[in-house]
Point group: C2
Chain length 106, copies 2
Amino acid sequence: MSKRKCVPCEGGIPPLTEKEILNYLTVVNKGWITKDNKKVVRAFNFVNFKHTMEFANRVAEIADEEGHHPVMHVSYGTVEIEIWTHAIDGLSENDFILAAKIDKLL
Amino acid sequence: MSKRKCVPCEGGIPPLTEKEILNYLTVVNKGWITKDNKKVVRAFNFVNFKHTMEFANRVAEIADEEGHHPVMHVSYGTVEIEIWTHAIDGLSENDFILAAKIDKLL
């Protein structure tokens, strides 16, 4: 999964169903959970703000490479990442490709 | 305000009152608003993710210099910053010093 590339999504496809989402969740880290089957979320903890920001910047690089940008909630020792596909107001395969690439950072 | 330094706060002082907060809000950018007089929040918009992350990193540098760390909600074109003083579960002068320094980044 982490070797695939996000493909542009302009909408026009249906969001993943609950069953599909549960399937995709088996191939990413168990830390990822869904919010109402519309987003996937994972929190990453660090010992200090320097490590936290380093991680946020590595996620940002991946996001730019993939052309797919998560929301990051950054505090002193935590980055909480939310991923979804705006164009379809739900989840697409791209979201799990991005999640898998972020998993590989650790 | 932006020339002052945050001083360590271990608690033991009362949080600022509503009246004090309104006073401090007059010396920072009008973009800052309070949440229940417990936090101050301001959103900063950018044309792309590169500029967004550059700003987040400059805020992070200031936070480390001051030893006072905000929460940053980072998306493609926005950084929303929340500042408060954990030790007193409310606002202190430090929060407005940090806000004023962040204002000067733009």
